[in-house]
């Protein structure tokens, strides 16, 4: 088909792209509820929250201190992923770290009321900085690259079905999956599954270009996988069609 996504503006923060309010699915995919956390915030975490809520000079100091921690986290993430961005110089990477820390601080202050003390405050805060940095790095790595939404030869993964290197069971399963992808999935489901799973497009990159969220795209992938499993189960290929994934309203 060769349909391609347009390059679109990214959401204001990465946290918004995962837990954002605009396109948040109303469904979750798991029935069990997490057990209640054993305790609330520790003293240090309470102090963080109280300081950050202070609109005076004390609050300014706490926000600067938190920004320093977020910057450390963003630099940590950039070091981990630096090999994926060989063309970026040190200055570019440090700019990216600062942007990530800035955006994470904005997201944290906006969501401060959501912090329940299930972990240390710093652990809770770090995840925002890591997410911001990771999403920015993935987008930089795919900047100026075309994102195939449904490549013309998406079913090439089944081409080696006759290869002796593949076991008979794998050959049969891969052929059945390709057939089910063709027959059972909607064009949107197939396109998202192919892009993310077969072509290795980061889900954040695809979400930005399709003007949606990571969560919404993952839900699409989840639904596609259930259809594929159901099709394979109908053919007696031994896959659980419904891995206890009944959707429940939040």
């Amino acid at each position: 088909m060769g349909a391609r996504a347009n390059l679109l503006e990214e959401p204001c923060t990465a946290a918004a792209s995962v837990v954002g309010t605009e396109a948040r699915p109303r469904l979750t995919m798991v029935r069990p509820r997490p057990e209640a956390p054993p305790h609330g915030p520790d003293d240090e975490s309470r102090a963080w929250v109280a300081s950050l809520r202070d609109q005076g000079a004390g609050g300014d100091g706490a926000r600067r201190e938190l920004h320093d921690l977020l910057l450390r986290a963003a630099r940590h993430e950039i070091r981990r992923r630096r090999d994926s961005l060989p063309h970026l110089r040190g200055g570019d990477l440090d700019d990216l770290a600062h942007q990530s820390a800035d955006d994470a601080l904005v997201a944290i202050l906006a969501k401060l009321g959501d912090y329940r003390g299930d972990s240390r405050f710093t652990t809770w805060a770090y995840k925002f900085a890591l997410l911001e940095a990771a999403v920015k790095l993935r987008k930089r790595a795919w900047q100026n690259r075309e994102v195939p939404i449904e490549s013309e030869r998406w079913d090439r993964f089944a081409d080696g079905a006759d290869s002796p290197a593949r076991g008979a069971e794998s050959r049969e399963t891969l052929a059945a999956i390709a057939a089910a992808m063709r027959a059972e999935l909607s064009p949107h489901q197939r396109g998202v599954l192919v892009a993310v799973v077969l072509d290795g497009v980061p889900i954040d990159v695809l979400a930005a270009r399709m003007e949606t969220t990571r969560g919404a795209l993952y839900k699409t992938i989840h639904d596609a996988r259930r259809k594929l499993r159901a099709s394979l189960a109908e053919q007696g290929l031994g896959f659980d069609p419904e891995p206890d994934s009944t959707e429940v309203a939040r």
Partner: protein, 78 residues
């Protein structure tokens, strides 16, 4: 061809076997899950937050976020 490749491909196409969290819930609970992993062990973390492990197996982006947070917190606690 590596004999593991078809199995990995099948696994990636069909996703995890068990029930899984959404990406939103994964992000909400990731900090607690990582602390449980580091302070107790993975089995306790999995028991406390059902569906997290399966989601991390099915969602590469969330799995990377998990690995990064775990590494950062572990680094800070050594």
């Amino acid at each position: 061809m590596n004999a593991d490749v078809p199995d990995r491909l099948i696994g990636n196409l069909l996703g995890p076997d068990g029930p899984e969290l959404s990406c939103e819930r994964c992000f909400e609970l990731l900090d607690r899950y990582v602390e449980l992993e580091l302070e107790r062990d993975a089995a306790d973390a999995d028991a406390a937050i059902p569906g997290m492990r399966a989601h991390l197996e099915g969602c590469p982006a969330c799995a990377e976020d998990h690995d990064s947070l775990r590494a950062l917190v572990a680094e800070g606690s050594t």
